[in-house]
Symmetry: C2
Subunit: 331 residues, 2 copies
């Protein structure tokens, strides 16, 4: 890949010596998505070493990168150039990682491990975890702004509104709040669905729809991707909820039936396992129908079929678990 | 003021029903700066009531609004239209308020009160404090993006870089980290100055320089405002540090000599009171010189003289305190 095809951020400047005639432009570095994610938050030498260590801890333990890879693929399908796609993918991964750091804090999920390592607040203190997450959020917005900078005014405003919807008070943040308030809320299918829409669907929407908006997708295409995000997002959450009830700790890597123990939202606990399985199969079926329409419009979205198959595979695994079969036999 | 002169954010939309042919534009509401600040983070009806209560707590306890008023004045001096100035002022106030919410958390300053009320984490829980601060940050970026949306590409990129410098890993976040790590860092004038540059100067830079950038100020004018921000920011921090040592709790509203007690950065503890007073007077003198140059370029910046006089007044008050006079007598 030529050196010029990936943008890195370079903004080290001193007060009073800012060379305004040469406003800092994204500088150039070579590399893959992994390199972009690990190098887009470079620290100046004056950084507090404790802060640098916490940020290093975060960047050295990347996730599965499922979301940013999808951003690249959607971007590619809609003709977004590679640099823009990679910056957008990095921004979304930073937003996602920051949300996990906050979720893991003692005042939220009080988690011990994340991505095969101690949570950053356990390794570097809560204050450094919060500052690292804010550093990711700040850089994510900067990357996003630089990515959309050359788009048309209409596209820029649409992208900004979309990010606001997904990440702000009507998206991820409200989902997280509802999730934490669950014990005080009515335990209904509506509540668990609102939480799943806020927490799970919001980031899938950003992943599938934002690169399409920037690639000037048609209104119809955006609508189809919106629907796919909703059905698959809800379906993924149902699979996760079923897993919590049906699978053993060894299979999920989590303590079994943890949601019941901690009074956490779980639609399978509210609707029952069989009804949840039915709903889930229905979500996948409507998703299939929507995906077909999307593929008719744009066959280059074919890679989404793999995501759909993964979802069905996860469901088959849950439904096929010994406990699920036992429950089915008892019905 | 005509109804159309203030922008409110309106982004309540449902998944799958987004009317893409009419991308959401900032909608219109009348009002003052105070109204803009209290109404630019409107919540959808689906908001978790606990989250809404925490955000309401924050918005119902505004600060002195010194910073956003300065943003409006600088914006006016550089010909920025009123809508843009007000949105920018609101965005900066949101960033500032969010930084205070984080600072007050138990893992940071563990404060009890803020703006005459219990801190939001004490009234609504740490998780809601964090989510509220994130809601402010998200909305601040959205307001900022909408404000710069119609600027030229060069101005937009310059504004984005500037925000990154001031709020990111080389600005406010690093200052906060150094501040919290102070007990483990060398107690030198350099350390305290780096902390003051990160924590205090960064937000003054954003306040004085960002509206000038958006108003297409010349390179020379930007440089002068950068210098004023630096000298005044450092001077303000020195006044605060002197106050901590010299004034009683009744005068400052804080426990006297709290910095010494908690091993917090205080330049007057590192340099001594007389040397700090000398440096402070020097900072004000260089600031005066720079302000004169700025006023020659643009007399409409005359309102900055009031800010300068407030600073000198604060210094006179500290120097004139009984304890300062006693220390001077002892020298």
């Amino acid at each position: 890949m030529p050196q010029s095809s990936v943008i890195c951020i370079n903004s080290q400047k001193d007060v009073g010596t800012r060379a305004r005639q040469h406003p800092v432009r994204p500088s150039v570095c070579a590399g893959s998505l992994e390199e972009s994610i690990s190098s887009s938050l470079q620290l100046p030498v004056s950084t507090d070493p404790h802060f640098a260590a916490a940020i290093g801890h975060v960047l050295n333990h990347p996730g599965s990168l499922v979301r940013p890879r999808l951003v690249l693929q959607i971007g590619h399908a809609f003709g977004l150039d590679r640099v823009a796609g990679q910056n957008l993918a990095t921004a979304l991964e930073y937003f996602h990682t920051a949300s996990l750091i906050f979720d893991d804090l003692p005042c939220m999920d009080d988690a011990e491990e994340r991505r095969g390592a101690p949570c950053v607040h356990r390794a570097h203190g809560e204050h450094q975890a919060i500052l690292s997450a804010l550093a990711l959020i700040n850089r994510a917005y900067v990357l996003l702004l630089k990515t959309i900078a050359t788009s048309s005014l209409d596209t820029r405003l649409e992208a900004i509104d979309y990010v606001d919807q997904c990440l702000g008070v009507e998206g991820l943040l409200n989902g997280q709040s509802l999730d934490l308030s669950y014990a005080k809320l009515p335990h209904t299918p509506e509540t668990t669905q609102r939480i799943a829409k806020g927490k799970t669907v919001s980031l899938i929407r950003l992943t599938l729809v934002l690169p399409a908006i920037l690639g000037n997708a048609s209104q119809r295409e955006i609508q189809l991707l919106e629907r796919i995000s909703l059905f698959w997002g809800l379906a993924y959450q149902m699979v996760d909820d079923l897993k919590d009830i049906l699978q053993s700790a060894e299979q999920t890597g989590k303590t079994g039936a943890r949601d019941a123990l901690l009074d956490r939202p779980n639609i399978a606990m509210v609707l029952g396992v069989p009804e949840t399985q039915k709903r889930l199969q229905r979500m996948i079926a409507i998703g299939d129908h929507t995906l077909k329409s999307a593929l008719r419009n744009r066959p280059s979205l074919g890679f989404l079929e793999k995501m759909r198959d993964t979802l069905q595979g996860e469901l088959d695994l849950v439904v096929g678990s010994p406990r699920a079969r036992k429950m089915e036999g008892a019905l």
